[in-house]
């Protein structure tokens, strides 16, 4: 299994959703909750099932313009892959 393709449209999997408070956002899934913050939170917010992975990456590269573009892509890909293995994200 690998990370998302450029054309895939990642989104939260069925039965996984945002929760918590504005100050402490979590993603809720059947076995628990993951505290989301910083870039991770941003990646997941962008994964709305409409944007393609390429668009998500382009948006992140724009927002975090001081960071290395290839690192941003690799990190986002690995992050989504891990969440997919936990069945929290689909793509």
């Amino acid at each position: 299994m690998a990370g998302p393709q450029d054309s895939s449209k990642p989104k939260l999997a069925a039965g996984c959703r945002w929760g918590g408070t504005e100050a402490a956002r979590v993603v809720l899934f059947p076995e628990g909750a993951i505290r989301m913050q910083g870039t991770g939170q941003r990646v997941l917010e962008l994964c709305d099932g409409e944007r393609t992975f390429a668009e998500v990456v382009a948006q992140l590269q724009q927002e975090y313009s001081s960071a290395d573009a290839t690192v941003i892509r690799a990190d986002a890909s690995r992050f989504l892959e891990q969440l997919q293995e936990k069945r929290i994200v689909d793509f």
Partner: protein, 363 residues
Amino acid sequence: MLSNPLALIAEITHRCPLHCVYCSNPLELASAKSELSTHDWLRVFAEAATLGVLHVHLTGGEPLARTDLTDLTAAAHGAGLYTNLITSGIGLSRERLERLVDAGLDHIQLSFQDSGEMHANWIAGTKSHAHKVEVASWIKEHRIAFTANLVVHRQNLDHLEEMICFLEGLQPDRIEIAHTQYYGWALKNRAALMPIRPQVHNAVRIVSSAAARLKGKIRIDSVIADYYARFPKACMGGWGRQLMLIDPAGRALPCHAAGVIPGLSFDNVRERSLEWIWRESDAFQKFRGESWMPEPCRSCDRRTEDFGGCRCQAFLLTADATTTDPACSLAPAHPVIDKALREVPIETASGSPTEWVYRANPK
């Protein structure tokens, strides 16, 4: 500092149409008459959310036996809780499921006893398998999380691969393969249910190869056969540490078997707030943290991972709830486990008529 509970296990009824031989619920069950009202549960869910609880697990018995399940689901969802229904599927129609999903149900965990109908019904002591398969297809009509759960033991482990293929066909997001735990009804049937060592070893291999094969599609979780393990399970994630269970009659317990431990008194949500119970109740404080721990746990590095194992199992097997879980290979009482395993007959005799007692359930 004491952290807040993360999940509330709401045992809304002990009534159940099934009679599973491996049932982990206690021998003594609450009667329908003693059950909390809808109103009580609504208050409990609201209090739980305020206390910082994130998940509510609606379970039983069979939660569908309560006619107000949709209202309870809506209330839990309305309080902001992630709502999980743990069910046998008996009592569910396509319409009722639709109402539950509309009420905000996030996740459904459907239990199976086996892959083949005859064998499954034999284990459940009820004709239920065909209906469960139908329920699974209805679940797939909705965008909710779906876990297929299978309890394994001596009588079905020989065809674990077949059972996993069967569950895969139902297209769940998750499959949970749980070895039978022996602290409720199942303890009565231990001789018939305890697997032999090769079955346990094969199961590990089969489960891990299925997990690799299904990676990214279906997540496989497993609950270990603790009699065969070196270390015990981290029962309930540690006593009074993450979970709070409310039984049908409103008693708050740190774990669903805790009622077997003599000398513990359980406060009732009819009289006390959840917050008070979490902080002050004797039962929750009894084995919380490390001060109760005996050796070898007290000086063992694993004590922050498994918390000394299961208190109820310690009591049931040694008559002392404060001792190291005998399932631990370092426990002074570990010989009771070795003895139980020595008594397991070698021939597996899967599917042959067996001496066991079906779960008796309250009305």
